[in-house]
Amino acid sequence: MADIKRMALVVHSGTLDKAYPPLMLAVAGAASDMQVDIFFTFWGLPLLKKKGLKRAKLPGIMSLFTSMMRWRIKKCGIETLPNLLKAAVETGNVRIYACTATMDLMMVKKEQLIPEVTGFMGAAGFLDIASECDVQLFI
């Protein structure tokens, strides 16, 4: 097999439109033998709370059209956000990190997060991971 490629993703937004791309990329990467590390920070962190992915809405005034978008997503055969995250983690190639500074800021406890979270770290920790990756994306 060729050398293992690695991808680092930063998720800093909690809206539906910005939660989908990193999770789809993570699943595609994992299925392509990539090792994927995802860092959920600032408004991305609440996505890791129980039901956080399920409750993600479109941004701003567009949030009114969230259910219409969900219906389109379902009709197109696109997976739900919780299912995408589950599929990503089940491959064994995807690791999920929660930003500890954001947990402090938003008063989020470890127990409030979904069990798929692999680890907890700050900016320097994730930069160390990202600096070894071939693909780094900030979404």
Binding site: M1, A2, K5, V27, A28, A31, S32, D33, G77
Partner: protein, 80 residues
């Protein structure tokens, strides 16, 4: 056009949207022996670009793509 390869397993991924055809294909090809052939049936238009690149990336060989009316058949030989 060459003849269609004879698959050892066929995965019907019709109705699945990106990136699930690739993920399901990955799961199925790992169940095959080295040298065996996986056929994936997909109607995701992205599969045309995705499967050749995915096969190369995962160290496998895309033997061919065969278009039908509203879907395509992708034949991938497990090498890795």
């Amino acid at each position: 056009m060459t003849d269609k390869p004879i698959p050892d397993f066929t995965l019907d991924a019709r109705g699945l949207q990106c990136p699930m055809p690739i993920l399901k294909a990955k799961k199925e090809i790992q169940k095959l022996e080295i040298g065996q052939i996986l056929e994936v049936i997909s109607n995701d238009p992205g599969s045309k670009e995705d499967f050749p690149r995915w096969a190369k990336r995962t160290g496998n060989e895309l033997l061919g793509i065969f278009d039908e009316n509203d879907f395509s058949r992708y034949f991938v030989k497990r090498l890795g």
